[in-house]
């Protein structure tokens, strides 16, 4: 197990290296720092002086990959690529590109907490609600309830999450006035701002998830051990909850686990609609301000979380299913 984890972490580091190369290529090679400067400064009269100063302020005033002016190892280390890569791996994110924004690191740490406040309860409730709904459908399979339940799922997953948000805000905040439209306060009072986004997000994903889980349960139900359990004379409930649910947990962990990075990254759409200052809203701000440093950092942080999640899922397998041995 230990050697497996070490290998996974080393492979993860290799992947991160690839992500870093990819993002660097995207952000610095396709468009040079000069282009970014021109876009970021804006306006019509952009002199080379302004561009140079912009680059110096942000440390972009070096060659991209190879510095011919230096000798020895410095030829490769005194470049933007080296500096940016090393600082990313040390989790020093530096300053944002836009004029007013400050350092990225503290901002990410602060906003991640807000995102977690929204996404963690959502994550837990999502798994519970989807599993419960899918189990209900499976329990009543081949009946009208199952049929219309699946029809409802297909209908729900055909509706964009934006519709749920707009209708939900209109209905609950404007007409019924049971929840504030948007906003955020630190502390426990935040609950009243979080209820609506959590419920709406739950509903908007229920169709997809429940249908998927239902298929997983049905796959298990067709297996021999279920027949054996029934033959033993167990009740249908006991079969479902004690046998099927346990065995279907493995695919459910995989499917639910893929949402785990977003517990920290937050949801772009929901955070910006509900005015929550999380990481998702941060990315949207960065995109509208064309702040490339922030987007680059978020890509890196995102893949870091993603890789960590998949190691976690592997570990969770051994806990869910003792037959799985990591090695």
């Amino acid at each position: 197990m230990f050697s497996y984890l070490v290998r996974r972490f080393l492979y993860g580091a290799l992947i991160l290296l690839g992500v870093n190369l990819l993002t660097f290529f995207l952000f610095f090679t396709i468009n040079t720092p000069d282009d970014m400067a021109r876009l970021n400064i804006g306006g019509k009269h952009i002199t080379q002086d302004l561009i140079d100063r912009w680059k110096v302020e942000r440390g972009y005033d070096k060659p991209l990959y190879v510095n011919d002016a230096k000798k020895g190892g410095e030829r490769y280390t005194d470049t933007i690529f080296w500096e940016r890569s090393v600082s990313l791996f040390e989790l020093r994110f530096g300053r944002a590109d836009s004029e007013s924004a400050g350092d990225i690191g503290p901002e990410v740490a602060r906003r991640m907490w807000v995102s977690v406040q929204l996404a963690l309860p959502l994550f837990v409730l999502q798994v519970i609600a989807s599993t419960a709904f899918a189990l209900l459908l499976v329990m009543f399979r081949h009946t009208r309830l199952d049929f219309w339940g699946v029809v409802a799922c297909v209908l729900m997953l055909s509706i964009s999450s934006l519709f749920y948000i707009i209708v939900g805000q209109f209905l609950f905040s404007r007409l019924l006035r049971v929840a504030p439209i948007s906003g955020y306060v630190p502390g426990w009072d935040v609950v009243k701002f979080l209820v609506l986004p959590i419920v709406l997000s739950l509903v908007s994903r229920l169709g997809t998830e429940a249908r998927l889980y239902r298929a997983m349960f049905l796959e298990e139900i067709g297996k021999d051990y279920v027949r054996t359990a029934r033959a033993k004379g167990l009740t249908e409930t006991a079969v479902l909850f004690r046998h099927v649910l346990r065995n279907a947990l493995l695919p459910i962990v995989t499917s639910a686990g893929s949402y785990l990075p977003y517990v920290f990254l937050g949801s772009l759409v929901f955070e910006s609609f509900f005015g929550l200052p999380g990481l998702g809203a941060y990315v949207i701000d960065a995109i509208t301000k064309q702040d490339f440093a922030v987007v680059r950092t978020m890509v890196f942080v995102g893949s870091l979380l993603y890789i960590a999640t998949f190691v976690l899922i592997d570990v969770a397998y051994t806990w869910v299913d003792p037959r799985v041995r990591l090695g």
Partner: protein, 484 residues
Amino acid sequence: MFKFVFLWTDITVWALAVFCLVYGAAVARSPGLATSWRRVFRDAPAMCSALVIALCMLLTLADSVHYRGRLESAAGATAGSVQYEVQAHSLLDLALSDLIDSRETSYSRPLDYVGLRMDTVSVNGRLVRMAPRLKHGGASLSDPEHQWVSDLVSRGFSGLMLGLVLAVVVALGLFALLARARRAGLVETAASVWRNEGEIPWRAALWTLVVIATLVGTTISLAGGYHVFGTDTTGNDVLYQALKSIRTAFVIGSLSTVATLPLAVVLGIMAGYFRGWIDEVIQYFYTVLSSVPNILLIAACVLMVQVFLDKHPDMFETGVERADVKLFLLCAVLGLTGWAGLCRLLRAETLKLRELDYVQAANAFGVGSSRIMVRHIFPNVAHLMLIVTVLDFSSLILYEAVLSYVGVGVDPSMNSFGGMINLARKEMSLDPVVWWSFAAAFGFMVTLVLAVNLFADGVRDAFDPRARAFRPRLAITRKPAAQK
């Protein structure tokens, strides 16, 4: 009189349409494929949604022929020089030119004859605050307060009748064709369709046709005198925007999925077939790609595309061309970032297939690797490709709305569902509520996505026998075809 403008997406959309025809011909020739596709159309929901999709496809194709009209040569222009309009139009624009020309000044409710906002108008020399009459909506009415309802009813009714007549004509044509194929009488065939006998659910298809025809007929008839879905803040007709958005959604759905195919198929089959270091390298590539959260990667790529386009403003003659290149590149980005899933699937399947006897036999006969992959592996994983393609289609349409909201979607000047929803967000907080843009976007988008989803389910069930077990079945299912 005009010159054609060949937009990137136009060319690819038409190429796809031609490919679909070629594929259709290939299906008709190959018994195996034909059986599977017949199974798709045996599924009533898939059959009905296929009709809806076909209608949207027609709209897309009509909206994918662009031209620039010729301008009357201005005085002083040198003889022989030809000037063209600044804007490129499509055939659909030509058909809907009434709706484009009938621009109002601001919001108006669906089917209304006055604007939404009060305005100061002079009536008989006195200034009165009232809702101004619309230019197009109810323009033919002289006494709108009394004529409005009856005009709506008469227009609606005539449209309904038009649609019904159309539907009946098509139904009779279908009966005639079926009767010829079955070598039975026309009445007999019609009765058998009505009893829902036979393999293909023609009755459900006909009902869908009737619904579509009456809706289209009524809308056309009403659109002649009113704004059926009202107008937006700048007075543009919402129905027109929704119809134009269909093309954007379709282009994104189809081009993006097609763009994933080359990389996914070539790399997936290669990884599975060669194994060893080639497999390792390809796995590394897609793991890197898929370990970046999708929306962030797309945002990063689209930002770069934007910078590139800003740097070269003189590459495009018209705004439409610029918006179109952006759409094309967005599809390319979605394709290049989205191939990992399919690649992984194809690799796993190829790993299984390469151990099978027929591949081993081909190997033993000395058939080259590339030939084995093309002739023996590819046809046997093609169904996976098809299933994933149609399943992805609808999620991409939904994705477009989110991307447009985030600010990395299609060009703001291009009509899209995402853009409509984006504006609707502000409109829903106005007082009085402007709900019609939102409702129109909702209606069209849900219909389209639902149709694509149902069709995709049908395709998956037909091509993947394992998936069929998950179909919800009622204990008492539809009576099987009458047995003789």
